[in-house]
Amino acid sequence: MRASTGNPAAPRKGRLDIWELLIRLVLIIASLACLLPFLHVVSKSLSSDSFVIANKVFLWPEGITIEAYKKIFADASILRSLYISVIVTVLFTILGMVLTICAAYPLSRTQFKGRRVITFIFLFTMYFSGGIIPDYMNINNLGLMDTIWSLVLPLSFSAFNLLIMKTSLTSSIPVSLEESARIDGAGHFRILISIVLPLSKPIMATLALFYAVGRWNAYQDALFYIKHETDLRPLQLKLYYLVIQASESFQLEATQVSLSNPEVLKASVVVFATLPILCVYPFVQKYFVQGVMLGAVKE
């Protein structure tokens, strides 16, 4: 074993020793642990009630039916919460990106006087915050309770994303490029729009995804701030009440006697809510990985 890998000139690939096999086995088990729960829930959501009640569904749907999905698409409250989630996520992401760029560009310019103080003001919020109740009272005082703005505005500035953007702008935009633009008479706005932003597309994509996925998945603030206007509940909060608390019944069940097992409905709601993330996941994964690495650079 040692002898064969000992020669640096000989490529090591293609050799499988017993350790390599064991390592691969452990990794395959870990990966399956991440995959199989979904397969099970998807199978359950597509199975007919009798098989689910008899506990006979494992990794393959039994007695395939899309009855549960039909119910979901007939439930106006679920579709409305999907709509709210989409609106909130889009507004939040746009606002978050505008705030990040407006803060990151000036702070990445060396000639910008006072940038140390302003940077400190921004980054201090990473380490200390008022906390749950002061934030809650602030939203209340601003009259944002039970509006979608309580989900769009407060979290849209992220010091962490600012740090990533600033690091990226400082390191990736050549100073000479900017200087030549300045000699040609371009102002800061011009430089930002025609030089800096086009060159920062990859990092902007990454941060936009950070904002979007973070907003899509969060439900804590909605739980706190959306109390009476049940129509404004985003999808995750709706899911929380439907599945975790099980305090809310599906709208359709009130009007017609349902034969469906709630377990099947729950499974299909979970799939319904996961699908948007699963659809974009393969395409966005690499951007996220890059973002994490950029975030680590500052350490």
């Binding site: 569904v57 407006c102 906390g131 102002g187 706190f224 979970v270």
Partner: protein
Amino acid sequence: MKVASASKTNHTALLSKKQGIGYYLQRDWQLYLLVLFPLAFVIVFKYLPMTGLVIAFKDYKIARGFWGSEWVGFQIFQEIFSKPDFARAVRNTLLLNILDLCFSFTMPIVLAILLNEVKSVRFKRVNQTLLYLPHFLSWVIIGAIGYQLLSEGSGVVNNLIELMGGNRIPFLQEDTHWLISYLAIGVWQSMGWGTIIYLAAMSGINPEMYEAATVDGAGRWRKVWNITVPSIRATIVTLLIMNLGKVMEGSFERIFALQNKATTEFTTTIPVLVYRWGIESGNFSRATALGLFQSVIGIILVITADRVAKKLGEDGIL
């Protein structure tokens, strides 16, 4: 340098005079204008709430308002320290987070080392894609999947156990089992994602080091111990400090998505108690004081951990 660049861009500037703030405002007004927008945002949504912390030292009455309420000094803190709920919340917060640190923190390190040992790029990529997946799911969805899999009556894991002749286990419906499931689900959610930062550090290792070690007769695990592990040591220390600072925190969303009425022993943590006292019961002063207590301990923990790391010759984060 500053003066030089100033003279380049603004010919009317006098080199001999020390520039006042007005000069910079005039020269870079566009930059100041840009930064004004996020600055206003941070002040309204981050700094303005901080003024609300004063109600931790006041007997806050909604009728008397924010400023009209009476100052009571540290009386509210004394009050909460004597509550049995407080002691339980502190215990649970520490227990859950320290156990999390033992498992959720170490698992990514192990996985990253294993992934680094695999030579096939494609095998690695497929595994990483699957392992990262749980990180992208919300806690509500993870909680829902958890109940689908682990519930005592209909969970598929229990169905399998029964099929193999075992007894059904109340994974999420009994306190101690709940604690273990809570930790396992946490590991499941974060183990893949956590590897990224270590893999990035490992990718910086010069392959010649491994080759030289092989020539010297080092086996696989010897190389892991002497080359791979030292390359990520600084990263481990940094992340450990950051996680130690969070020992008093913990995710509210995670607990809330996994809790149920049958398991209340370990689910009352500090953030949950803040929510119950403040938003559910309307006792804002008490809840704010508890939140402030948590933040202050958190900051002390980060600073202490950072000092210790620096004493041990590591970089630290502050």
